[in-house]
Symmetry: C2
Subunit: 220 residues, 2 copies
């Protein structure tokens, strides 16, 4: 039985590769490399700040990671270029099948929430930009209370508390394996969306289902 469906945001519903275009426009020929390192550092900073006990919100971390990526690759990030690249988050796209998948779930009466490291402002902006806001019942951010990042158990326990549903009746969907591991670690029913055919990470936690994209989520 599924009482609620909870989706990760960036990488799962929202296409972070769409940010590469803004990097490429600013630094021709380097867009992919910048975007890849930007994402890697964004996650790395979330894990390191959690370990250090030095929280900074995900929008702040996102800007920090962009600065690192550009600095590391020898690209000069002026305030103007920085603002233009970060503005790509305002027009982020959804993965192609997101709207149809959420529509199918709603047709079955399943409530839909987004649970993310991102701030509420980031989540609402992305949902509006992609038109998914009409299909989402609520937004949950680690920024609201826990102020530690995925995959710490406290972040997922807060979701359980706020949805008032047992962990085993929450269907959790993420394309990020560390997030799959974090959700499984507290007993959620977990779908790993493995678009790239990546190997699973060796974290002693495995998803209940693995799908190539969101299309068949509603059929679970």
């Amino acid at each position: 039985m599924v009482r609620a469906a909870v989706f990760d945001a960036f990488g799962t519903l929202f296409d972070i590769h769409s940010l590469a275009a803004a990097c490429e426009a600013a630094f021709p020929g380097r867009g992919e490399a910048i975007n890849r390192l930007w994402r890697q550092k964004q996650l790395e900073y979330s894990w390191l700040r959690t370990a250090l006990g030095r929280y900074r919100d995900f929008w702040g971390i996102t800007g920090d990671a962009l600065a690192y990526a550009c600095g590391s690759l020898g690209c000069v990030l002026t305030d103007d270029i920085r603002a233009r690249i970060l503005a790509a988050y305002d027009s982020i796209t959804a993965v192609p099948e997101a709207s149809a998948a959420l529509t199918s779930l709603r047709a079955r009466g399943t409530g839909i929430h987004i649970f993310s490291n991102g701030t509420l402002a980031m989540l609402r902006t992305a949902a509006r930009s992609t038109g998914l806001d009409a299909l989402v019942d609520g937004y949950l951010s680690v920024d609201e209370a826990v102020r530690q990042y995925k995959p710490v158990p406290a972040a997922y326990h807060d979701v359980i508390r706020r949805l008032g549903a047992p962990a085993a009746e929450i269907l959790f969907v993420s394309s990020n394996y560390f997030d799959v591991a974090g959700a499984k670690n507290v007993g959620f029913r977990v779908v790993w969306v493995n678009r790239s055919g990546a190997p699973p990470d060796a974290l002693d936690l495995t998803p209940d289902h693995t799908l190539p994209d969101l299309t068949r989520v509603a059929s679970l």
Copy 2:
């Protein structure tokens, strides 16, 4: 005043690039790519397992990360190849100036310890392989008691307790910025060895000194 000098191991005293040769011998043309992803995943797993509360020792993580890197890059890791690549840790080399730098420190009467995520077996093997064992007074591993990885404060507090010295009188040397941040977070006097001219990570913590290699550590 410096009561003790504490060095990080892998990347700081021991040259992890020397592992690339074993990767290259096993998978010609892919050695550098495998070694880079291997190291990235090794660190990632240490941070994620700490966040998840699912400790596994660093030798285990090191094997897991190698398997991920090979799988991700389409290289088939047989048991035999796996054993041969991991054996490179038994003959790891030191960074060129390590021996001279530790010798200078000892000549000033400063005790030298290695503090690492690695298991005691990994540390003793590497110290013997490089000949640095004759210059080292002791080995400290997160594996002995804390069983959480750098940069969690508990790992560094254990070093303070065991050395019986105030944090401000411990000179800590690392080439890994997350480790610099972790050491600074508990008040150590910290040297960042920045061999590649990388930008500092944005973690709100900065080293007391930055050096291009270990050569001048004794002069601090």
